[in-house]
Amino acid sequence: MQRNAARSDLLFSGSDWNFRTLSRVYDEIAALAVEELHLDTYPVQMEIISSEQMLDAYSSVGMPLMYPHWSFGKHFLYQQLLYRKGGRGLAYELVINSDPCIVYLMEENTMALQALVTAHAALGHNHFFKNNYLFRQWTDAGAILGYLDFAKGYIANCEERHGADAVEAILDAAHALMEQGVFRYRRPPKLSSEKEREGIRERLEYEERSYNDLWRTLPRSKGGDGTGETDGGMAERKKSLNLPEENLLYFLEKNSLVLEPWQREILRIVRTIAQYFYPQRQTQVMNEGCATFVHYTLMNALFDRGRISEGAMLEILGNHSNVIFQPAFDDPRFSGINPYALGLAMMQDIQRISMEPTAEDRDWFPGIAGNGDWRETLLDAWANHRDESFIQQYLSPALIRKSRFFLLDDVAEKSHYEVASIHDERGYATIRSALARAYDIGASRPDVQIVDVDLLGERHLHLEHKVAGDVLLDEAACDATLRHIRTLWGYKVSLAGIDAKTGAKVYERSINQT
């Protein structure tokens, strides 16, 4: 270190990396991150992997451990195809929301790239995972790896005992409901793998013995008013089953009549993993924006202090601009809004607003304009927002003009799109709300809930789809999914589409046989 410092201030030279340099660069960047940006991170575990291993990691949803399933094989084939064709480069890194935070680095990266990736993933994403309220409330970074290990072992065990086909059938059905397998509003209980494993047998035994409302064959109110089993009974039944229930997997796990204990446990595993990823899906723009902002700021700071050579900085900037490239809507390369670009632009905009606000900014953001402390403003935004609220709160007219955002109305029956708003005084607020809504997972996914169970009759399970804006479900996929629910529930399942505004029934589908 001293020898090196004597020679020059550069952290590294040339494109080859080794573990000593990586470690030195990490220490330097981490110190800078605290000093410059006041970041607060989990300890870091860096793992060097080859490109094949990166492809492997892709196909198992990015996790280092995963139970086996054919769909991962299918995804692998797809990723491999893209990679072979050169259609898509591999990510330079992969980061896992765990404690310690695991960062995968590709061995093919040059040293400059490793430095960039260290700042991006090991500090940017890491800080976000540790501080954002969604992750703090909904995921347990310390336990996830232990839990996945448990899940993998448990499913392998089930395959041994009950056969791979039986396990596959349950997993297929559970995967189909993954989107409807999360609690959106109610906070899930913390998972703790050790206790989980200890308590698992106890819990299963208890559930087998425990009183289940569905098994009751005699009307409860037998003694008093024998005729009360109508509206009041229905309300009571719904209440006792916590209906309506948005988490389909949870409901089926707890209340299905045909599942065996191990099948319930598999549903629980799938549901837990879905819940773990739920915050990530709600914070794409913020997460990537935060990481990109951090690497951009830190790399420039290092360069300003003479710790990175001009050549390395050019390479870093080249990669940086590839990542934040946002083609216009009519460009053949356009494939939606680039979350890296949007996130970074908004965060740099916040920095500008709090340091050099214009009169317009003072109008729109009286709270932060010119407060002079962009660090605190950003830390606060990172900690307390998800994509939807972040955009709703911070997308400024200046940025809307700069990106030339416009809003299209798309009515399926019409042969034209209509431009609803553009970047002008009348359009800012509309565009901002519309963009925010586009990132609201709850609004953009079909809202399907379990509303009633016909307990005394044929155990008919009623689902309800709140049809918003006349957007119906894809019929083939819907029927296939209902068949999966039928498998898990064991009796007739039907889905009614109810218009969210009028409450009128739009359609009804039901599945009686698997």
Partner: protein, 437 residues
Amino acid sequence: MPIFIDRRLNPKDKSLGNRQRFLRRAREELKRDIRDQIRAGKISDVDAEHVVPMPAKGTSEPTFSSASDSGERQHVLPGNKHFVAGNQIPKPSKGGGVGGAGAGTRESQDDFRFVLSREEVLDLFFEDLELPDMVKLNLKEILAYKPRRAGFAPTGSPTNINVGRTMRNSHGRRIALRRPRREELEAIARELAALEAEPPSAATRQRITALREKLEEMERRRRLIAYVDPVDIRFNRFDPQPVPNASAVMFCLMDVSGSMGEREKDLAKRFFVLLHLFLKRRYDRIEIVFIRHTHEAHEVDEETFFYSMQSGGTVVSTALEKMRRIIEERYPSREWNIYAAQASDGDNFATDSERCITLLDGEIMRLCQYFAYIEIIDERESHIFGSTDNGTSLWRAYSAVNLRWPNFQMSRIARASDIYPVFRQLFTRQPALPASG
């Protein structure tokens, strides 16, 4: 200081198990696809990687998803150039387009082609042929290689040093660099000793000093120029070469008269493919000759053989005659292992069967390693004919040949699983290296 873990040496292919699960799930559809490809492709192409489309059935992962062709939506897009509020933009003719990015990627994810390895292709191909496992193994096995001497190399393992070549190099180098030989040194040493024995004089002293210097210089040279230097060393080079196998030619004979329909041709083709695979395992070089016949026989290319129709009667002996002539002209049996496979529905011109017997008995069976005749019959007929010897005239005629020649095989085939037993005999005999001539 972060924790570092170097995972590069960990096993790759972590997802291989998932790939196998996926293939198993899509097995039926992949099998059909491979079969279609084999039906449409060349016989010799079976033994290679195949690109197949993603099977649609059994591999979809349904979820509740919005139908892209209903309802009202809003899209926020970047890069407005000249639109103002109220403008109308015609929708692109096909779905997707401006706002449908989400739906678009989903579709393409399920609609792509991927590569099946040679082993996977053969697995799928073999499946309904019902081959015994041992045979499958035999077919899938890669040729054995044997190291053969192939010149010299400057690198290699010590056991392969070629001493002669090394010493020759060393000798040349010593001459070129004028390394003093031991005899020269000894001569000077002797002269020095002689001079030192003489009474000293100015002249001898001078001579002794000169000789000493020379001796010293020569010794230094000898030390500097090694006797054998690493640059001299040569190793025997070995090249892996496939174990020498003789060449084989495979004759495919088929009746293409009107009575041979699509089903018959398809079964025949699978039979030919299998024979080709068997032969390919055993021979380095293999040629295929296609002879089709109606009332006259022609040598044709593979395309014509399987796909073009011809009308006419059926005279089998013309094909045998043609085959005999081709053997005579191009494939002398001293140099070639000759295999023949004939597929027919059993029809033959009334008196022609006798002539077939004569041709086979007289010449062809002596030339052939193996002659397989398959008669493709209707599935409904299979239990009538079963194992009985009565049948078409060709069948009866060939039965006689079958008795006389052990390398003759005949069978009736009604479905794909009947094909393999035809080969059983070929494998039980298992000739080590077919004796030629």
